[in-house]
């Protein structure tokens, strides 16, 4: 079974530039999460999708961050414009749902560096 796929793995941009991250969850997983992880810290939830619906985006900085999950499969997270403080690893995770559905499978992450 293929795992969660994320691209790119690394991204270096100048501040004020836009950037986008892509995630393809495990086939059949209805729940998709985007997390931000700073060095030495635990993942921080940005947004959670149930199929194509964003059901928890309370921690997403909506002035510069946006996300979409068209057709309820893969998802894109965008930052525009990027700031120096956005440098972090952006993790995508998926979950199958159901009784044990909360077990999350993480992708390798995208390491963003904003210069």
């Amino acid at each position: 079974e293929a795992g969660v796929v994320q691209s790119p793995r690394y991204k270096i941009i100048e501040k004020k530039q836009p950037v986008a991250f892509w995630c393809n969850p495990i086939s059949g997983h209805n729940t998709l999460y985007w997390y931000l992880q700073n060095l030495g810290q635990g993942p921080e939830l940005l947004i959670r999708y149930e199929n194509e619906e964003a059901v928890d985006d309370s921690q997403l900085p909506k002035d510069r961050f946006s996300a979409e999950r068209l057709k309820g499969v893969d998802s894109t997270l965008k930052i525009q414009p990027a700031e120096l403080g956005d440098s972090a690893v952006y993790l995508c995770a998926s979950s199958p749902g159901g009784r044990w559905g909360n077990e999350q499978f993480f992708g390798p992450g995208t390491r963003l560096t904003v210069l």
Partner: protein
Amino acid sequence: QQPVQSPQAVILREGEDAVINCSSSKALYSVHWYRQKHGEAPVFLMILLKGGEQKGHEKISASFNEKKQQSSLYLTASQLSYSGTYFCGTEYNNNDMRFGAGTRLTVKP
């Protein structure tokens, strides 16, 4: 409501045991445990649900005290491969997950 983990770091010799704790100030639906090695994605270890059910790896054990809103992860007879950062994730309702800051475990030969 980020859960609080303790200790922040622990160093062991192979074969020694360790306990990692996770506590919440709010009533929990479930507790998850993940391990993350440097530069890699977090990997699922165990989930403990309110009511006593749990799912996880055979070599990993954990407890969940619903009244105290606390969970502990027990690592026995540690191996070098156990090294990494352990995160607990707490759910206050279905799928609303928050992670702790992590406990860095180092196992030495």
